[in-house]
């Protein structure tokens, strides 16, 4: 028997992930070692420093094109770009998670397991500092996401999926207000997430059966020269895709999204809407472009149908929503559909425009949830639409910023929403998927209605008795808002630099 040989490891290429996982473990130790009073500041600084350090590592690796640890991890243009995007958006999300001045104790509860409605629950709701475990959990999730977009074999991808999903399930349960809704959301997310993971894993088994290997390159070879029944390939491809479509919130695997977005603490919702989306689409891009490119003619119509269904469900259901977080959830579902249009272009333009879209959308959605976290009444965030009537009279600045973000979602020119939609639609036309673009444009028109309805509600309705006060944002939330708006404008007016960057990055290694 041969002695077990370690495969060569390129530590430089793995450094960003190693930094994050290391920092997360350190964060767990901080929970034990640092006194409660100082913990929040220490944890937040640690998390942000780790993210910045990882980002620096990503930037230093910018020219790397390699496959390492025995083919488990591929570090190439898309990996590094998406890792950078996840780190930037994650860092901004951490600032939202770290906000403590809008609500006493922050958006998180200190002990999630306490029975809802009990004496202790009342106590902790009214001002006990929130759990600081959210920081290591977030950093673990970020690390998992970095691995997810870099995974070059299906099992690594599965592990990464679980690594970033489990912390998210926990984070969802930690909302300070509406505890039951939060717990319910977490449980639903966990159950359905596990269900989807099972599909993914089962699919991996089928693919292994077909290709005799789980590395994406091997699958690609096998697809080109099939040795076994293609039934295995198609069943496997379908099931792997389902696992990824679930995370990306594409119909009909989107059902968890509205409930979870509504129930989770708003900073976590923002984190999911921005970062999970990047990670899920990053992995989807890699699987489809690297492993299954050879059967593109077979999966394009099926996934195209899913994209159309997603766009329609997102747009149509957004019309009748009365809760802003749910409205944004359906908007995020519709946006997943638009991203899918870019993915299905299956050319370099498709890859680069999808990556551009992910960044642009991430910043806008972070700003949107940041605003939602500011409009509060005595029960916490006032997310019901009726509460937002006439808010433009009370806080014109906030309403103006939200109007701008909504216009960006609606794809009005001079915002990133326009340039990014234009980019993915352009790529899809070039890739011969004009039919998807037609549906995309139709649903964009539908989707403009709910956005504009909110705008009309904010500016043209009389403020009622119940119109809530708008909290003065703390430094962290202000920074998030400013960043979100600046990036949304900048990518709308001068998108060229980022588009160049995505084009340079748009090549996978196989």
């Amino acid at each position: 028997m041969d002695p077990l040989k370690l495969p060569p490891i390129d530590y430089g290429a793995l450094l960003p992930m190693l930094i994050l996982f290391g920092a997360a473990c350190l964060g767990v130790l901080v929970e034990v070692a640092v006194p409660r009073r100082a913990r929040n500041a220490v944890q937040l600084s640690l998390a942000l420093i780790a993210v910045v350090a990882a980002l620096v590592a990503v930037v230093l690796e910018r020219g790397t094109r390699t496959i390492t640890i025995g083919g488990a991890v591929a570090v190439d243009g898309p990996t590094l770009f998406l890792q950078g995007a996840i780190l930037v958006l994650g860092g901004v999300s951490l600032m939202l998670i770290g906000e403590r001045s809008v609500e006493r104790g922050g958006a998180f509860v200190s002990e999630a397991a306490v029975t809802v409605g009990s004496q202790r629950d009342m106590q902790q709701t009214s001002g006990q500092p929130g759990a600081t475990e959210v920081y290591p959990l977030s950093v673990f999730a970020l690390g998992g996401m970095l691995l997810f977009v870099a995974a070059n074999d299906l099992l690594t991808m599965f592990v990464a999926l679980e690594v970033f999903s489990l912390p998210l399930y926990l984070l969802c349960a930690l909302a300070r207000r509406r505890r039951l809704l939060s717990q319910e959301a977490a449980l639903k997310y966990f159950l359905l997430g596990s269900y989807a993971s099972a599909f993914f894993l089962f699919g991996v088994a089928f693919i292994y059966g077909f290709a005799g290997g789980i590395q994406l390159g091997e699958v690609h070879e096998a697809v080109a020269n099939p040795q076994r029944s293609e039934v295995l390939l198609y069943v496997g491809l379908g099931m792997v895709a389902i696992g990824l479509l679930f995370k990306a919130a594409l119909a009909p695997f989107h059902v968890w999204t509205p409930d979870v977005y509504q129930g989770a603490p708003t900073p976590v919702t923002a984190f999911m809407a921005a970062c999970t989306k990047v990670a899920a689409f990053g992995a989807l891009l890699r699987v489809l472009y690297v492993a299954f490119e050879g059967v593109r003619w077979d999966f394009q119509p099926v996934l195209g149908g899913i994209a159309v269904l997603t766009m329609f469900i997102g747009a149509v259901l957004a019309v009748t929503q009365t809760d802003l977080k749910r409205l944004l959830a359906y908007s995020s579902i519709a946006n997943a559909g638009y991203l899918m249009v870019g993915v299905l272009a299956l050319n370099d333009e498709g890859l680069s425009s999808t990556m551009f879209y992910l960044v642009a959308y991430g910043f806008s959605v972070l700003a949107a949830f940041a605003i939602i976290s500011l409009v509060r009444d005595p029960d916490g965030e006032a997310t019901h639409l009726s509460k937002w009537a006439g808010i433009g009279r009370k806080s014109p600045l906030l309403a103006g910023v939200f109007t701008f973000i909504l216009l960006a979602f609606a794809g009005i020119p001079l915002t990133s929403g326009f340039t990014s939609k234009f980019a993915v639609f352009g790529a899809a036309v070039e890739g011969g998927q004009t039919w998807l673009v037609i549906f995309g444009v139709i649903t964009s028109m539908l989707l403009a209605f709910p956005y504009l309805r909110v705008v009309v509600l904010m500016w043209l309705s009389e403020p009622g008795e119940s119109t809530p006060a708008v909290s003065i944002p703390g430094f962290l939330t202000s920074a998030v808002l400013a960043l979100g708006v600046i990036v949304t404008v900048a990518l709308g007016v001068v998108p060229a630099p980022l588009i160049e960057l995505t084009r340079d990055a748009a090549e996978f290694v196989r």
Partner: protein, 642 residues
């Protein structure tokens, strides 16, 4: 002929000041607002006077140049650069632009001065002067541009200024309506001009005057005809020519100085300028020239007929403007040496018509804004200066030698008789001759009813008085112009304009159907008959109310039914079309849109119920989705769908 313009050098490189000075004044007056109320009108006068002085200096400089290169082209900056289209922000000061600059700023200065007195009691006097300066600036840009886009820029600028000035008393519904009418009818013409410019760009790739004129030879005859007709449509709109004449008389709702400056001396001549400037295009196609001549002849007769039936002093003058511009169109349509004749008539008309409009303003000033000539009479005793100056204008317009109208109009009549095709010579020459007689008739009627005969004043209006010096001095200066300018111009202007129109003015030896001497005698004869007839009829005054009249007079009173025609053919169907579209929009399109919206809303409401909140049903829907996805892949694999 090769068209090139010499670059501006020396003093002439400052021609941009002509446009900039009044524009700066307008900007200051509008921005300072009430703070400049006390001195604003003087700034307005000074800026136009300064432009006049500058214009004179440039004019003298220009005349010092060699006639073959007597022009100054100045490119300020690239105005529009899109793809192949490149438009200069450039100016051109050549003999044609030169005479227009002098007319606009010279007559303009006098009218500005007059307006200081006329608008004295109006609270909006500063704003009025701001608009007035804006107008002068735009008009100068129009005549100074070195390409058609600059011309269009100025063209729209004067359109805007004239809208603001016609509706200056916007609280009066009639003034607001008149402003709107002028604006809308001008849009029709402007659209023609704009399309004409587009056509130039597609055909020749440039809108610079020299490129366009040099490219005329390379265009097909049909293209030239279309381009010319489009330019002509623009010219008709701005100059109040048939069929777009209806706005001009209504525009008299504005303050009288506006009528004098815009609707007599300057803006309405922009159409004549456009055709004269585009002479290489118009001269290149005889059909096009025939169209221009016909429009001129129709309009001049129409203006005379309607003018003879009106009782409102300003409207009579307005219709006479329409008619006189008809003569100018006749002139530019005849082509060759007649271009210069038309410009001479334009300049002479600028003086005597401004003179008479301001005279009318002076009469109204003394008669409590009464405008009905049936309620004047015997004013010669009370307003000596107005009477005398108006008298010179009257004699000038009807063409009594040696006043200016004789030297400017009679040659056009003669030129019309020189058409090569015999029937054309008779038709157009005859029309021009008939027009001369009619002009003598209605202008004499106006003059006699206003200044002579028994007083027929209304009871509350018994104390007519002469206007202050600030109003009469411009009248005297303009009257001097009406007397002397004709002879001076008829001897010098044709040579001066030779570099622009290329051909020397035709000498008297032309081969018309009638000899020149016969035409001179005939035109003087019809003038005397017309004037004498009117004097005899109206010497004793007239009825105070309209009397029943024959078909022709009734028709003329109603503007020859042109308004009725416009209403029946354009307005009514337009209104019906609007209503039909509104109906279609409400019932059809809105119905469809609302239906779709309701459908989506309903669908959304139904779909929402699928979102039950139960994990079991979510899982079920995922399972169904999974089965469908995998099933679809297998179906493709097994060839069911492929």
């Amino acid at each position: 002929m090769e068209h090139t313009f010499a670059p501006a050098t020396g003093v002439l490189s400052n021609i941009w000041l002509l446009v900039a000075v009044p524009l700066a004044s307008a900007t200051i007056l509008l921005l300072l607002g009430k703070r400049s109320d006390r001195w604003g009108h003087w700034l307005g006068v000074a800026s136009v006077a300064a432009s006049f002085v500058l214009g004179l200096i440039f004019f003298v400089n220009l005349s010092g140049l060699d006639p073959a290169r007597r022009s100054a082209e100045l490119s300020l900056w690239d105005f529009i650069v899109v793809g192949d289209l490149k438009v200069d922000f450039g100016l051109l000061f050549d003999p044609l632009a030169g005479v227009f600059v002098l007319l606009i700023t010279g007559v303009g200065s006098l009218i500005h001065l007059y307006a200081v007195g006329y608008m004295e009691h109006d609270p909006g006097r500063r704003k009025f002067f701001a608009y007035f300066n804006l107008f002068v600036s735009a008009m100068l840009l129009l005549v100074l541009g070195n390409n058609y886009v600059m011309l269009y820029f100025g063209w729209e600028g004067v359109g805007l200024a004239s809208y603001l000035l016609i509706s200056f008393w916007y609280t009066r519904p009639s003034a607001a309506t008149a402003g709107k009418k002028a604006f809308l009818m001008n849009r029709v013409g402007d659209a023609g001009l704009a399309i004409g410019i587009f056509l130039m760009f597609t055909e020749l790739g440039s809108t610079q005057y020299d490129d366009v004129f040099n490219g005329v030879d390379s265009m097909a005859a049909g293209t030239i005809l279309v381009m010319g007709i489009l330019l002509l449509l623009g010219a008709c709109g701005k100059s109040g020519q048939f069929p777009l004449q209806a706005w001009l008389p209504d525009a008299m709702e504005g303050p009288t100085p506006v009528s004098a400056l815009i609707h007599a001396a300057t803006m309405v001549t922009a159409g004549v300028y456009l055709i004269a400037r585009s002479n290489p295009i118009f001269s290149a196609n005889t059909t096009l020239q025939l169209v221009v001549v016909s429009i001129g002849a129709i309009t001049l007769l129409m203006g005379c007929l309607i003018g003879a039936a009106k009782d409102d002093i300003k409207r009579i003058l307005a219709w006479s403007t329409v008619s006189q511009i008809g003569y100018m169109f006749l002139g530019v349509g005849l082509g060759g040496g007649a271009y210069a004749l038309a410009i001479i008539h334009l300049l002479a008309h600028g003086f005597f018509k401004a003179n008479m409009f301001l005279g009318a303003g002076s009469v109204m000033h003394g008669m409590h804004d009464q405008v009905d000539i049936r309620r004047f009479g015997g004013l010669s005793k009370h307003m000596k200066i107005t009477w005398l100056t108006f008298g010179t204008g009257w004699l000038a317009i009807i063409g009594i030698p040696p006043l200016s109208g004789y030297f400017s109009k009679e040659p056009i009549i003669a030129a019309a008789f020189e058409r090569e095709v015999v029937w054309e010579a008779w038709v157009f020459g005859g029309a021009a001759l008939l027009g001369a007689g009619l002009t003598a008739f209605y202008m004499t009627r106006l003059f006699v009813l206003t200044f002579h005969g028994p007083a027929r004043w209304t009871e509350d209006n018994q104390h007519p008085h002469e206007s202050p010096a600030i109003m009469t001095i411009p009248l005297i200066l303009l009257a001097a112009g009406s007397i002397g300018a004709g002879y001076l111009m008829s001897t010098s202007v044709p040579d001066w304009l030779n570099p622009v129109f290329g051909t020397a003015a035709a000498e008297g030896e032309a081969h018309g159907v009638l000899s020149h001497a016969v035409i001179t005698i005939l035109s003087l004869l019809v003038t005397v008959i017309g004037a004498g007839l009117a004097w005899a009829l109206f010497r004793k005054g007239t009825a105070l109310e309209p009397e029943p009249a024959g078909v022709l007079v009734t028709a003329a009173r109603r503007n020859l039914y042109t308004d009725a025609f416009n209403e029946a053919v354009f307005e009514r169907p337009g209104i019906y079309l609007t209503r039909a579209l509104v109906f279609l929009d409400n019932k059809g399109i809105d119905g469809l849109v609302n239906g779709i919206a309701a459908g989506i809303g309903g669908g959304s409401g139904r779909l929402r119920r699928l979102q039950t909140g139960f994990v079991r049903s979510y899982a079920l829907s995922m399972l169904t989705g999974a089965m469908l996805v995998v099933g679809a892949f297998l179906a493709i694999q097994l060839g069911w769908l492929a």
